[in-house]
């Protein structure tokens, strides 16, 4: 079924191109709300790529967490601070020389990384088939302790938000 492989390859390249375009959109668009939507599109694009690499679990988590939660959070921020999003803000890139040097450094680092890694790494990674079962056992087994620590941090964060919210209008009976 060679034609199918080619089709899939082309599909992934198209999706990758799409992600790049949307990523550019996030940075350059004037209207803040449009940027948030491009961000969502880019994230869902990465989920599609995970599916192509047969990592469905990761794709589902990606959609659930990023597209479902993070982008909604950002949109909430935009909605609540209306006056910020109402007028399309002008990009004031006065520190452009500084930004360009930083960018060049990053590009250099990436190229070095890409050249040095032995490419067949993807095949080895594929062999270690990560199944949901394995992930669950690892979380409960070897990584049980970090799992607990993370949950404690999350609860602390939750209570923190409640306290901050309560400070704003104390007489609001929760």
């Amino acid at each position: 079924m060679p034609i199918l492989e080619i089709a899939v390859k082309f599909g992934t390249y198209a999706v990758m191109a799409g992600i790049l375009i949307f990523a550019l959109g996030v940075v350059t668009l004037r209207n803040l709300f449009h940027c948030a939507l491009c961000l969502a599109a880019a994230l869902i694009g990465t989920a599609v790529i995970y599916v192509v690499l047969q990592a469905e679990y990761l794709a589902a988590i990606q959609i659930l967490l990023y597209a479902g939660a993070v982008v909604t959070l950002i949109i909430f921020a935009i909605m609540l601070t209306e006056h910020l999003a109402e007028t399309t803000i002008r990009q004031n890139n006065s520190q452009s020389p500084l930004a360009i040097t930083g960018l060049l450094g990053l590009v250099a680092l990436l190229t070095v990384l890409i050249l040095r890694t032995p490419w067949p790494v993807t095949q080895t990674a594929l062999k270690a088939k990560v199944s949901v079962m394995g992930l669950g056992k690892a979380l409960m087994g070897t990584y049980a302790f970090p799992f607990e620590v993370i949950s404690i941090i999350l609860i602390a964060a939750l209570i923190g938000t409640v306290v901050i919210a309560k400070k704003d209008d104390p007489e609001e009976r929760l």
Binding site: I44, E56, L64, A67, G68, A69, M79, V132
Partner: protein
Amino acid sequence: MIRAIEFYVDMIFVTAKAWILDLLSRFLPDWMVVLASITISGVVILCMGPIIMMYLTLLERKLIGRIQNRYGPNRVGKWGLLQPIADGIKMFTKEDIVPANADKIVHLLAPIVIVVPALMVFLVVPFGERMTAVNLNIGLLYFIAISSVTVLPIFMGSWASRNKYSLLGGMRTAAQMISYEIPMTLAVVPAIMMSQSLSTNTIVLAQAGDYDLHWFIFTPWGIVGFIVFFLCATAECNRPPFDLPEAESELVAGFHTEYSGMKFALFYMAEYMNTFTLCGIAATLFLGGWQGPFFPSWLWFFGKTFVLICVMIWFRGTFPRFRVDHLMGFAWKFLLPLTLVNILLTALWQFTSNLAAWFWSILVLGISLWTLVKLNRTFVPEKRHYPLES
């Protein structure tokens, strides 16, 4: 003999597809046949979704009519059967008004983006014996991930139409969808724990057993899980009593105030398809998807989903609407703790024997319910005394 007929009828769709495929494979290259099988199930879903939606609208108007002692639509077609088609034509021909200063692209995109997840969820719903479109081994997680995306298009719709009412509607939807997603996910966890897998097919198989006493609903945690899941499902697809986002009385039509014509029809279609899929998943998880003694499996599945949809319509005919903070309070302060207790119960359920387990779990559930009701003073109606003076 009956078993053979039963098996034949049960597998009628699967055999039909297999027959078409081997017909095609005679004169098509094999990779084309693979493509053909994907397109067949895709086409079936794509045309089944809208048809289900059309006849759900008719069913709803008929049932609510009967609740209110009046006939539902019976002018178009024999018992109003052609009414959905008439609605469809009306939606097509209606003028599509875009508000002046709305931002056009997002206004156009919102209805499209809302229909895509509604259709994608059909992938995972097990319609019959071997009739799940794609047997994903993370079926349920996929379902929860996709249903969490629906918040986005509603935001786009409400923000793009630059209208105060839809803005409020959008804010309310986001708050409601997020706060009801968590109890829904946690309500699903017991079913996953008991069937040891995320794929919907194995969940249904886990509920098989002689004369169907093994459905998850026949266990204490199953009942609580089912009720919580069903309430969250009604909240998830914005149906009364949780229909805050498009509350007619306050917000005119919530986030789709500024939509008309085909775009409004798409919003409408997405809502009804969500209702169907959520009821389908509820039936799969707790009522033993296509398990059933005599009838073919797909008939069982559609029957159960149909019954659950009728209950949702029954809700619509009876209840007034929640207020926003009650809605939030109900999700966070009542459903969430209840599901946590429920997960604890399913864990215990594995170890203790049957009868003692029933007694203990009912006891624990009763205590937790009582404490929750006591804690949420606002939900319990006060007793009122009305003196009659001359």
